[in-house]
Symmetry: C2
Subunit: 328 residues, 2 copies
């Protein structure tokens, strides 16, 4: 049995949506147990009527807009803080929440702890690619300032995740830059390129922003500032395009009919881009797998996040990262 | 009369496409003259049969993939180098090319020269926004490493361009970061925030990547590294979405019909995102307006680039930037 702690209070949706997702995950995976963290009235009745679900009753909720470090300091009895403490105590093997990324990152770094030797945990996601080939992208915003040796660790962590989540052996790693030549980039990025090239971490050279969704590389690493800029720019473009299609629809019957017919396809593309199809984002470098879903979550997203977390536990994600560090 | 030098050899398309664009621009603007730079066989017969078009016969062409500084050093008789020299010599008031951005940037900085006091020219573009409100975005890749005082100059240059190209008075300027709070960002970006806040340049705070296409700010400034990452990420997302729609179409008759009906709308959106609808990118900080079109150009893109360049000349773009610097 693999036990995942799931935060019933995380995200913009009511706990019922998360609980539906847990039900789906349990149905899909008979070897799964879920420790359901949240308010008594939400989690206790659910666990009474659900096999392989145990309640972790908490009294506080950290909102999406709260200041991360203040929130986790003040709300010691929140589902995020207590859920991650349960993981540390061995009551669960991994954690999934659709709650505040900042709060989960802060609570997990303190609560679960880093793998020995890891300087900074990083936030990663498996982006969709044009030919169905996904690219693990990190750091998506956890560390705005990094040193070159941290990028090398990001490469190792990304490779371990590509192996466990995507089944990719010996993943090819690229560095996000503003051109493919090794001399391209800010001074800092040129230094990072040199550090990656000198390490044994599958490094093949620079990638550009346009490569993030082509599946040309297995892993693309960058600092958390550029990672956030890239991710938010992609999100903004997708929003712009969906909104622009809506606007066209309002002005033309032909476009309206076209959009209606294309709706299922467009929904699938939006779902792909949201990241929920593949368990959301993952915090790499911690002693247990911690996965974070999109705030605007759904039962399907909670299901895939919970199952992806269980797969990371069973695939030995943490051991693979620890081993890569030892072999450095 | 306003005279714009247009590079007939620039871009991935044959000179005929550029010449068609020049014809359209001349027809649209009776106060426009064009100095057409390019190979004899392309430009001389065209200028003989076209009113208000004069040839600038050159013998060399700088390709899109050539190393910018080497190319401009070796190809002294190229349309880019000679065209920009003609602008410096006063034979034309501005320059438009759909050629290599790097080569044009290098040749223009040397050939046309910087406005007195400008530390670094920057590459800007007016991005489309959700409510039809455009955002001037710079630096899109000219300077990977910048100092805080350069960002302040970028703010002034962006405001001048917002005034001339978009008619926006007293433009609101934001700094690209990974969060809206002033403490967000890398150490470098936090310093840039402080420098912008201390200057009288319309600064209102941080923007995120998702704000680039919402029209929430008139100007968004960043260093050329992050600017390139953001721009290429947006480009990649648009490509991904168009390709994903195509893929859906291949698998479903319903989607295929929908896509067929939506095609004109999708083409309009792609055109908006390509930047060609509003003259492409502009190099700010030079003594004359220099505009750069997308390499995969069209007659319409050349037309709007040439007209936008003439509008920048007539609107006094260069004087407005010089004045903003004097008033600092």
């Amino acid at each position: 049995m693999t036990c995942i702690c799931v935060d019933a209070m995380g995200g913009d949706e009511p706990p019922e949506v998360v609980l539906d997702g847990i039900t789906k995950a349990l149905a899909a995976d008979p070897q799964l147990e879920v420790l359901v963290a949240g308010n008594d009235d939400a989690v206790t009745p659910f666990c009474e009527r659900t096999e392989r679900a145990k309640p972790l009753v908490t009294t506080e909720v950290i909102g999406m807009a709260e200041h991360p470090t203040e929130a986790i300091r003040q709300k010691r009895d929140s589902s995020i803080v207590r859920g991650l403490a349960a993981v540390r105590a061995g009551e669960a093997d991994g954690f999934f929440s659709a709650g505040s990324t900042g709060a989960i990152f802060a609570a997990a770094t303190m609560g679960v702890g880093r793998i020995r030797g890891i300087k900074r945990p990083a936030l990663a996601s498996a982006l969709p690619g044009l030919v169905g080939h996904r690219t693990v992208f990190l750091d998506m915003g956890a560390n705005a300032d990094v040193r070159p040796e941290m990028l090398v660790q990001f490469a190792h962590m990304g490779r371990a995740y590509a192996k466990v989540a995507l089944g990719v052996d010996d993943a090819k790693v690229a560095l996000l830059s503003n051109g493919s030549e090794e001399t391209k980039g800010s001074e800092k990025v040129v230094e990072e390129h040199q550090a990656l090239a000198a390490a044994d971490c599958g490094f093949v050279g620079n990638a550009e922003g346009v490569d993030l969704l082509t599946g040309s590389f297995d892993v693309i690493v960058t600092d958390g500032f550029s990672g956030n800029v890239a991710l938010k720019s992609m999100e903004g473009t997708a929003k712009f395009m969906f909104a622009a299609i809506k606007e066209e629809v309002a002005h033309s019957k032909r476009s309206a009919l076209g959009a209606l017919l294309l709706k299922p396809a467009i929904k699938r593309i939006a779902h792909e881009l949201s990241g929920d199809a593949y368990g959301g984002a993952v915090l790499l470098g911690l002693k247990s797998p911690v996965l974070i879903g999109h705030g605007a979550t759904s039962a399907n997203a909670v299901q895939s996040g919970t199952l992806a977390c269980a797969a990371a536990v069973r695939g030995g994600l943490v051991d693979k990262i620890a081993q890569a560090l030892r072999e450095q």
